[in-house]
């Protein structure tokens, strides 16, 4: 049964990717991208990668198609032109590369074998000792926020930098050259009363669920990355229904931009505190006499920093794109 579900999901993934090759319209491609995200997340679930599935569900199926859509809307769909000559060179290149890679896969350990090299080095240590060293059930969180915390700091910095880059490339609401608020009350031909009411009921639960994911990440699937994306999607939902100027009044862009930096700083400071005590960077045992309790506090702080940064950066990126979309239409 597992094999069947697994293979069918993979076939559907290939079919979706094939459809993406054939389809030319950008809006259709965006919808297929959303389906692709949902499928790959389901596949991650069947591979026991619950945390990854969590992230891919929020990113691949939610935020990523939305950003694509806002881009497509801002550049005005880019009407697909008639199919040109068949790109024979590309087909040949792709076929040869693919064939070589498939020959290469034959040297890999069979799928699912427990004695593959990937499972014999660090992973057994994490699985056997993280229970007593870190004291939390979710091994992915212990590796992410403690064993490999320095690596994660790098990832968070990349996300922060990407947010800064988007801000540099695109104007955000309130900046010079950005769209003036054009949403006067009643400017919508028909307000979406039903959508607004239902979403108003649901948004608090979405934000609450994001907090649950944030703070339950030590015990179940979840953590700062996932919680940040879910929190940001709550804000994005509000913005979509009430317009950019309204959501900017509720969650000010300046505040969000500051918070993006605050998250990174919180992460870095947590690491530096250990150095003040003469320990290595990001050694959490400084926070309490009991090293396991210290790990708990450290992971909590670090995950909070990740969550704040991710939520703010995604919100900022949404603001920048939505602003472009409104300028393009205005």
């Amino acid at each position: 049964m597992e094999l069947l579900v697994n293979s069918v999901l993979l076939m559907l993934l290939v079919a979706t990717a094939g459809a993406l090759v054939v389809v030319r319209g950008l809006l259709a491609s965006t919808m297929l991208t959303s389906v692709y995200g949902l499928l790959s997340a389901s596949f991650f679930v069947t591979m026991d990668a619950v945390d990854v599935a969590f992230t891919e569900a929020a990113v691949g199926a939610g935020v990523s198609p939305l950003l694509l859509l806002l881009t497509v809307a801002a550049i005005g769909r880019g009407e697909p032109r008639a199919a040109g000559a068949l790109p024979i060179l590309a087909i040949v290149l792709v076929t040869i590369t693919g064939a070589l890679l498939i020959i290469g896969t034959l040297d890999m350990p069979p799928f699912g074998s427990a004695d593959a090299p990937a499972h014999t080095h660090v992973a057994p240590r994490y699985l056997q000792l993280s229970g007593e060293e870190i004291g939390i059930p979710n091994v992915v969180t212990s590796v992410l926020a403690s064993y490999r915390a320095f690596d994660t700091l790098g990832e968070v910095l990349v996300i922060f930098t990407a947010g800064v880059a988007v801000l540099l490339i695109l104007a955000t609401p309130g900046q010079r050259g950005s769209a003036r608020p054009r949403y006067t009350p009643g400017s919508h031909s028909e307000p979406h009363t039903i959508l607004q009411v239902v979403s108003k009921i649901l948004i608090p639960f979405i934000l609450l669920f994001a907090l649950y994911v944030q703070f339950h990440g030590e015990y179940g699937p979840g953590g700062g990355f996932q919680a940040g994306v879910i929190f940001a999607s709550g804000i994005i939902l509000y913005g979509l229904l009430y317009g950019l100027p309204t959501v900017c009044r509720v969650v000010r862009p300046a505040v969000v931009e500051t918070l993006a930096a605050v998250g990174v700083l919180l992460y870095g400071t947590t690491g530096l505190l250990a150095m003040l005590d003469g320990r290595p960077f990001l050694d959490y045992s400084v926070f309490a006499a009991n090293p396991v309790l210290g790990q708990h506090i450290g992971i909590l702080l670090v995950e909070l920093g990740v969550g704040i940064t991710v939520a703010s950066v995604i919100t900022v990126i949404y603001y920048a794109f939505a602003n472009q979309f409104e300028m393009a239409e205005g």
């Binding site: 031909s189 028909e190 979406h192 039903i194 959508l195 239902v198 009921i201 649901l202 639960f205």
Partner: protein, 113 residues
Amino acid sequence: MSAVLAILSGACLLLGSFLLLTGALGFLRFADFYARLHACGVTETLATALIILGLMLLSDSYLPPFKLLLILLFVLFSSPTASHALAKAAWNAGVRPRDNQGKRDLPLPAGER
């Protein structure tokens, strides 16, 4: 007791799957956007409720059914809303009901444009 629960849950799952299949058939075969929306929008709510109920009857601890209940509540809220929003957006964009072959727009009642 557990045998009764298993039979009940099996019945729920079977009925739910059947409804899903009918909805998918309509979604694939119907000629017109609103008919397709009707086919999957209507069957979806009941099928989801039945399947989630069937799963709830299978659980032996208290947390999974609670989470399933949350999922059910959320789907019951969001699914009809999404269908409504879809129909409204399509209507506003100028999509009109078609005849059975999907070839021409149906005449609309007086007063509608």
